[in-house]
Symmetry: C2
Subunit: 316 residues, 2 copies
Amino acid sequence: MSYNNNVKILDCTIRDGGLINNFSFEDGFVRAVYDTCVGSHIDYMEVGYKSDKKIFTGNQYGPWKFCDENDIRRIVGDNNTGLKISVMADAERTDYHTDILRKTDSVIDMVRVATYAHQVPTAIDMIKDAHDKGYETTINIMAVSLLTESILNSTLEQLSKSEAEVIYIVDSFGSLYSNDIHKLVNKYMQYAKADRKKVGIHCHNNQQLAYSNTIEAIGHGAEFVDATIAGLGRGAGNCPIELILGFLKNPKYDLRPIIECIEKHIPAIKKQNNWGFDVAYMLTGLMNKHPREAIAFLDSKREDYTNFYDTMVNCD
Amino acid sequence: MSYNNNVKILDCTIRDGGLINNFSFEDGFVRAVYDTCVGSHIDYMEVGYKSDKKIFTGNQYGPWKFCDENDIRRIVGDNNTGLKISVMADAERTDYHTDILRKTDSVIDMVRVATYAHQVPTAIDMIKDAHDKGYETTINIMAVSLLTESILNSTLEQLSKSEAEVIYIVDSFGSLYSNDIHKLVNKYMQYAKADRKKVGIHCHNNQQLAYSNTIEAIGHGAEFVDATIAGLGRGAGNCPIELILGFLKNPKYDLRPIIECIEKHIPAIKKQNNWGFDVAYMLTGLMNKHPREAIAFLDSKREDYTNFYDTMVNCD
């Protein structure tokens, strides 16, 4: 029994989980996730988005949509721990010149830029901005399952010249199978290795493949792994961090604090929010579509799955 | 987009699902599963066990523990459909000479003999008995994750000489990873091919890998695939048949009747029974153990996962 010591785990429970409740987690839960990540020796914790307050106005969003420095410090203080703090910045939805402070003024360690292929020039400028301010950076190419080979190649070609240290495969719709993952990791590795970057993996569970695809990616060389406590995340959810720790068998990680966090906090979150595999998500995943129709179906407590199936099969 | 026309799907919703309620499904549900399998053009439906009534006495068991001919015919009549009917017969728990009728007197098409490695001589005699009576037969080697390489080799050597048409890999504890599945399928294929047998796969979902391991097995040559509606089955459940149909993309199968069955019947079954992934099952799967402790933990409505973790980690 051996393990790969190069794999870093990024917990995005609050960031991806925030998508199901407009980032309105109570401080107690955010602090519990932070304490769990510290106690389990997780490498990174992503606390939310750095969204542009001029675009996202009104009172419907909780603090983790914006990750103001004061909000983060209310939870982590000066974060004198081994855990690094990450935020996600969406291309075209972030006032990055203003809202991302210099690293010397922030407790944040890493900025992850999320981009669709058509936004890559903006994303590259965002990476440069964050890098120059002193942060570690990653680039996360969203919805890779929609990209043609030639668009993906040119996207990777451009991003491989950026300052990002990690290029992420993001299966936004949970529609990829293991052979897709193998091909994508191999391709990303070619571009990444040439520029001494690493490859990351972020999966969704629409077809019950989030965890298996994550470990397939690790087997093919991915070294940054996104996961969440109890798989908390939009729609069908993410790769559960408890499964990844069990798989990796790296003695530096400790599973017990995660089990404790699940016991103490997940039942209350489950009462107020929906996430996790459902046949409705399977159908959107199978059809390589955004899960929004399935989310709406389940949020409205509908149970007429056959009608939903017919609608999905017969839409354009 | 292509598909493998050689893969046969066996629905074991009632048989493996029966393990969670002592085989007491109402006729309406059993008939619904039968109608669904016929409508979806599934290849086989397993209706239960042929258990020895001298061993399993008392009133706690429903009819699908024994699968009397009259009980099966009450549901399927003479089964003038394309769906084949299967039963499972456990080695040392089946009075096979008496309880398995001649094929000419039965609506059953296939007898699947389930055996642990130490019961193989009995299993071989059971296969011969069923084969000589006119049935298709398979041999299902249980708990393969506990077997040493040399014991597995000698088991396969013996079983490859039997009349069984299919040799099944059974991940009873849901503890195998994809690389284990690849190695096992390759090994089983060597023994099976020499004697013109096929390889089957039966997975459990303790680590959320039942579906992914099933499609990994298909990719390496397995041609008999066990699955259940909504993953219904003991503990963490089985590979969901709806996911397999989506993956295979074989136009002979129809997903819609399965979605209908899930809509109409699964909510009521869910209200009365527990199955599906849970962290407790993850822990037994990780430790390559029978899920009985996790089943007892969940059946007693316990929520003290940290205590359960400590008990599992510290037991022998």
